[in-house]
Symmetry: C2
Subunit: 107 residues, 2 copies
Amino acid sequence: MIKVSVLYPYTPGARFNHDYYRDKHMPLVKARMGDSCLYYTVDKGLAGGTPDSPPAYIGMCHLFCESVEAFQRGFGPHAAEILGDIPNYTDLSPTLQISEVVVEKQA
Amino acid sequence: MIKVSVLYPYTPGARFNHDYYRDKHMPLVKARMGDSCLYYTVDKGLAGGTPDSPPAYIGMCHLFCESVEAFQRGFGPHAAEILGDIPNYTDLSPTLQISEVVVEKQA
């Protein structure tokens, strides 16, 4: 399994609507990707390594897929619509990363 | 719930032993933190936004805790031992981020 991480770098003064991201954008992504996105997670950045330092990223999501090919197959046909929704919640440009899920969940 | 993300920036030529990280370091962290770490996840960076670009981070872990206080309570007393294990798998210095878990898992 792989995860596609979408990371929005914290930038003073930048706009990021966490409610829209959680309630509108991410459900849109999942609806369009269907089963090619197994599930997703959403984070809101609170702080860096010390409590009074800003986070590296103000918002993040992680899309879990069986493979890079599954992600591309699900996301590709809807890329224009999904990317076109970004200005509705932020003026930031995200960093993308693809990772292998080494440990999915260890309690 | 919060997550503490430990992010190791990809750096050409740097050392990172993914097996040690998965099999030794992360179990050590969980053993020392006990129930103050609800669970953790581990990722291995594969690529950036395009298949031939390097990932932003070569390795990541995310520690899920009830609160920042729970994390500090569980990690603090063992910080020296845990941080002292880092040279056993990498010569990189990680970036830390604390996030609010907005969506834990949405299928």
